[in-house]
């Protein structure tokens, strides 16, 4: 068995050290070693987006990132999107707009949307559909997800 590496990183603003084997993915580290099960495993090969996290602000499929690669970066997971007392506007609009059914893809959508709206706060429908096309949802037909994001984007226009 290969020796474990010690990795120092930042997750949701907190410094985190963990030990990982060279083969372990960031998704495995988050869900297994660190007990952060918000990122979901839908395919484990980068096709579905349910495990999306932000690395230095950019959305990535955490199943395609190795644990040993995250030394020194800043990671944001779905657990770090809301603050202690209230939901992020994206989360709030997803609940209010019935933009989830089974909810398994929802963490990935929330995280990818956060990255999109940080970059383009007033994203239009086509931009939303393009930027989130890497996140699969089988329940909603996407309609209410797009509308919820549009709602957040329109609020940002004031």
């Amino acid at each position: 068995m290969a020796a474990k590496n010690q990795i120092a990183t930042t997750i949701n603003g907190e410094p985190v050290d963990f030990l990982c084997k060279p083969r372990e993915s960031l998704l495995e580290i988050l869900r297994g070693n660190l007990g952060m099960t918000g990122a979901k495993e839908g395919c484990n090969n980068g096709n579905c987006g349910a495990c999306t996290v932000l690395i230095d602000g950019l959305p990535v499929n955490s199943c395609l990132v190795l644990g040993v690669e995250v030394e020194g970066v800043e990671i944001t997971t779905v657990e770090g999107i809301a603050d202690a007392s209230q939901l992020d506007p994206i989360q709030d609009c997803f609940v209010e707009g019935a933009a989830l059914q089974c909810g398994i893809c929802t963490p990935g959508f929330i995280v990818t949307t956060r990255a999109l709206l940080d970059k383009k706060p007033d994203a239009d429908e086509q931009t939303i559909r393009f930027d989130l096309s890497g996140n699969l949802c089988r329940c909603t037909g996407y309609d209410k997800i797009v509308r919820a994001i549009q709602h957040v984007a329109s609020e940002s226009k004031g």
């Binding site: 990122a39 579905c48 609940v95 989830l100 059914q101 996140n135």
Partner: protein
């Protein structure tokens, strides 16, 4: 803000936030793969690489000797299960076949069929150890297309399967366990009356439900012989029954906790990893989790049948459909019992046709055992029948909406399989289509087309139980047994809130394990908001009855003097709302609890009609959906947002089925595209907004008129898209999926 769809109700028809919403947008909701237990081991299942083979021997010695491995199982570790049929609520299953599907004993029948499993300290160790298991196979000829499997010289999957023709059994074994036959009227007479007759052949590919959450099951078999299973299931009680039967232990020795479920659509009713994890747990003395990979989900669970269909319909010159004949062969996969029954019942279910005959064949072949997928069996036949209806309209020069209105099934129409419809809302759906902005907006441009198609699903009642506990403050905890896949905690809580005169937020709904709530059938058959909602309504009435009795003591009046209006109790001067009275009664005496259980024996009959505009690119054959409207009779939309969500989600699954999705099989009859990259479900970029029109024709079997809406929306899309494609491409396509190469070829051949 919540807005009511009508003035009659206070809570129904509004759009409150779902109770589990916050936990699901913050990542806190616990799905099956999120379960963590002290000492948890990981299981890995070794699967057949062959489509059809006899197992000669399995040598697990090297795997067992691997460091980190705690247990190894093969078919030999499973008890013998009698050839017994178990009723699982929605559909029945042969337990011996089920056990064999969970772990092969003597033969493997499809690529991905489990042959052994390993429990180890982590999944990588388990996978490596599984790779050291030596399985010797004798490869057998295989077959993956229904018509090939029906041939006399086809490779035979089961020596003990003899075709049952409505009670009469053949004497030589075959791959066709069941031949169904239904008829009404006199088919020769019917076609003799017809001025136009259209007969076509259709083929549809095997498709998968495609839920985003892979199956995951954790089992802990303790030292007292009690087994606890945490799993992703549409029905905890059916999972318990199947697990107990496969392991041959009493049901009382098993408790199943249904975790949050990441989609099911009919594919999470049968058990797969549950009994395997259980035996690994028993052998190792540790809890064991088996999580499937995406490839395993595609290759070893679900899919829904591919089919061959021949449909012939006749009409008189005024457009009256007078005769319908269908010959259907559906792929059951590796074991008997696919979706042919509902296919037969649904092929002509939308129309009042005097003379009809349907023959249906359930066909075994070397694919995974097929399962329900949202209105199982109905989408295939609608793809066929709705095209034939369109072609009849074309030949007669009748409007395609008009011909459906002329022949629409309504109260009193008898379906070919016997039942006569109670009040149903198909005529109202057609009227809504006629009045819709979509229908009345002309579609212009080159290579564009508009199509419509109808759909029907029975919906069922089955068994549900709920219990209520009233808190000090008059809020109510509602315990139910229906796993919540799309917001049903809230649609059930809303019905209770309506009865009691409180807010949806005053109800605390909880989906309980099998030790903690009365028996409840699966979340399926569009039944939860209907039947579990009915149980919640009845439990509310039970609670009010008890409260009325105790209020009579408190208020020193006769029980009959107390009336209840919108949840408020009153007797002369005395008056109290539900919460106020509940608080009083708690101070005065014993805590308030109530319960109800129901088993409505009826179909809920939901009809729908979809309209689609599309554009096809003649250079590539790729179709783009320009506009889509789904219309459906919900009976009563309890939470309109989630009703719309069902309609939109079903429509998009249907769009995927129509245009893209299919299992590809190689020369060795094994699946070639077991990933979301190669089995491509619609992405956000592939579809437009899905407009919805909810029609409400009350279901007489429910106090609020609920029909249940989950399944019907997947039925019309392939037919509607085929009808639009016929206009846009200038040629009809009789095969699913209507993928770009097929459309391009059809257009090229046509020009």
């Amino acid at each position: 803000m919540s807005t009511s769809t009508n003035g009659k109700y206070r809570v129904l028809g509004t759009r409150p936030r779902r109770h589990d919403g916050t936990d699901k947008v913050t990542g806190k909701a616990v799905y099956s793969n999120d379960v963590q237990l002290p000492g948890l081991l990981a299981g890995f299942v070794l699967r057949s690489p062959h489509a059809h083979a006899r197992i000669i021997s399995i040598d697990t010695s090297e795997a067992e000797a691997t460091a980190g491995v705690h247990a190894v199982v093969t078919g030999k570790d499973f008890p013998n299960v009698a050839n017994k049929i178990a009723d699982l609520g929605e559909g029945s299953i042969n337990l011996s076949n089920l056990s064999d599907n969970v772990m092969a004993k003597t033969k493997v029948l499809y690529k991905g069929h489990p042959v052994a499993a390993v429990a180890a300290v982590d999944v990588h160790v388990a996978e490596e150890a599984a790779g050291k298991i030596k399985v010797e196979y004798e490869k057998l000829d295989s077959v993956t297309w229904v018509l090939d499997a029906m041939k006399d010289d086809a490779p035979l999957l089961h020596e003990d399967v003899f075709t049952d023709h409505m009670g009469e059994k053949d004497e030589t074994p075959s791959n066709t366990p069941t031949h169904l036959h239904f008829e009404k009227g006199n088919i020769e007479e019917g076609f003799a009356q017809a001025d136009v007759v259209i007969e076509r052949e259709f083929r549809t590919a095997t498709v998968h439900q495609g839920y985003i959450e892979p199956h995951s099951s954790t089992a802990d078999w303790n030292e007292n012989g009690r087994l606890h299973v945490w799993t992703s299931t549409q029905g905890a009680f059916t999972a318990r029954q199947q697990t107990a039967e496969i392991l041959q232990i009493p049901i009382s020795k098993v408790v199943v906790t249904p975790c949050e479920i990441g989609g099911g659509f009919g594919g999470k009713i049968a058990v797969y990893g549950e009994p395997v994890a259980a035996i690994l747990s028993k052998l190792s003395g540790r809890p064991v989790k088996i999580q499937m990979t995406r490839a395993e989900v595609f290759e070893s669970t679900g899919p829904t049948p591919g089919s061959f269909m021949r449909v012939k319909m006749g009409a008189t010159s005024d457009g009256t459909l007078v005769a319908g004949e269908a010959w259907l062969a559906y792929d059951a996969g590796a074991y008997p019992g696919g979706m042919i029954g509902p296919g037969c019942m649904c092929v002509f279910s939308c129309y009042d046709i005097e003379h009809a005959v349907v023959d249906g064949y359930d066909v075994c072949l070397n694919k995974p055992h097929t399962k329900a997928y949202r209105a199982p069996g109905a989408t295939q036949v609608a793809f066929a029948a709705e095209q034939v209806v369109d072609e009849i309209a074309e030949q007669l020069g009748i409007c395609k909406l008009k011909i459906r209105q002329l022949n629409a099934a309504s109260e009193g129409t008898r379906r070919v399989d016997g039942p006569v419809y109670p009040p149903v809302g198909f005529v109202e759906c057609l009227a809504a289509a006629e009045a819709s902005d979509h229908w009345n907006t002309p579609l212009e441009g080159e290579n564009v087309g508009r199509g419509i198609a109808a759909g029907f699903w029975f919906g069922c009642g089955l068994k549900s139980a709920v219990s209520l506990m009233v808190n000090h403050d008059g809020t109510v905890n509602l315990t139910e047994g229906s796993p919540d896949i799309g917001g049903t905690r809230t649609s059930i809580a809303m019905q209770l809130a309506e009865v009691l005169g409180i807010e949806a937020a005053d109800v605390v709904p909880r989906v309980a394990d099998t030790d903690s709530v009365g028996y409840t059938d699966v979340t399926g058959g569009s039944r939860v908001t209907f039947a579990t909602g009915l149980a919640a309504y009845e439990a509310g009435i039970d609670l009010q009855t008890q409260m009325k009795k105790r209020a009579a003591g408190l208020w020193e009046c006769a029980e009959d003097d107390i009336s209840i209006d919108q949840g408020t109790f009153s007797a002369g001067e005395k008056k109290a709302g539900f919460k106020e009275l509940a608080q009083e009664l708690f101070k005065e005496g014993e805590p308030l609890v109530a319960r109800a259980s129901v088993a409505p024996d009826c179909a809920t009959n939901s009809f729908g009609l979809h309209l689609v505009d599309l554009k096809v690119d003649p250079e590539t054959g790729k179709a783009t959906i320009l506009r889509y409207t789904a219309i459906q009779d919900a009976g009563k939309a309890i939470h309109p947002s989630y009703v719309e969500g069902q309609m939109q989600g079903g429509a998009v699954q249907g769009i995927g089925w129509a245009l893209n999705e299919e299992y590809f099989y190689g020369d060795d009859d094994t699946m070639d595209n077991a990933s979301f990259l190669d089995y491509r479900i619609p992405t956000m970029l592939d579809v437009p907004m899905i407009d919805t029109i909810i029609v409400e024709v009350a279901n007489p079997d429910h106090p609020y008129g609920v029909r249940g809406v989950g399944e019907t929306p997947i039925v019309p899309p392939p037919g509607a898209i085929a009808n639009a494609m016929a206009v846009a491409a200038g040629t009809r396509i009789y095969e699913l999926p209507m993928s770009p190469p097929k459309v391009w070829k059809a257009m090229t051949d046509n020009s």
